[in-house]
Amino acid sequence: SQTIHQWPATLVQPVGSPLSLECTVEGTSNPNLYWYRQAAGRGLQLLFYSVGIGQISSEVPQNLSASRPQDRQFILSSKKLLLSDSGFYLCAWSKGLLSRTGNTIYFGEGSWLTVV
């Protein structure tokens, strides 16, 4: 069966410091990978998605970037964190396009980021 792991689970970082959140998927190949952010009192916002190694689509221009160095690895980064980057970050995966019957997004356990 497929599993998704992301870490760290909790992170407290000062303003201006760098960020690296990592996500890996096991038990499948060539998954679509996603990073979502959930801010307090708001829904989930899609930040980035990737359909393959080195292929990244950005949904919202901001202080963050994403990379996919390996097939099942997805990394969310920032060079200099802002206070507004605080939130709950969720990695997710799907097998192919969501518009195809049966395809579903599966989420990791999330990473809490507090920028102080």
Partner: protein, 116 residues
């Protein structure tokens, strides 16, 4: 543009009472529809999904949802709520067959509290 509306931000029900969480979507064609549940500090778990066929969909944990095309709705129901159902519930939509996207659009969520 596609959108998902969950009109109830917060709902409180008594344990053993019935539950209905509302979800309305805006999309030109029949979308694929999902309900996810998120326990505090956790990732999202898929409850159920609708792609086609029977408009009444059964999910895990005793939940069901009914797709009503005429009302553009996909409301989540449970006949008898348990204290462990207290969580936040998210409705989401993806374009249906013929679409080509990796975007899963989420509503802002409904926080469910269960009274003993």
């Amino acid at each position: 543009a596609q959108s998902v509306t969950q009109p109830d931000i917060h709902i409180t029900v008594s344990e053993g009472a019935s539950l209905e969480l509302r979800c309305n979507y805006s999309y030109g064609a029949t979308p694929y529809l999902f309900w996810y549940v998120q326990s505090p500090g956790q990732g999202l778990q898929l409850l159920l999904k609708y792609f086609s066929g029977d408009t009444l969909v059964q999910g895990i944990k005793g939940f069901e949802a009914e797709f009503k095309r005429s009302q553009s709705s996909f409301n989540l129901r449970k006949p008898s709520v348990h204290w462990s159902d207290a969580a936040e519930y998210f409705c989401a939509v993806a374009p249906g067959y013929g679409g080509a996207t990796n975007k899963l659009i989420f509503g802002t969520g409904t926080l469910l509290a269960v009274q003993p």
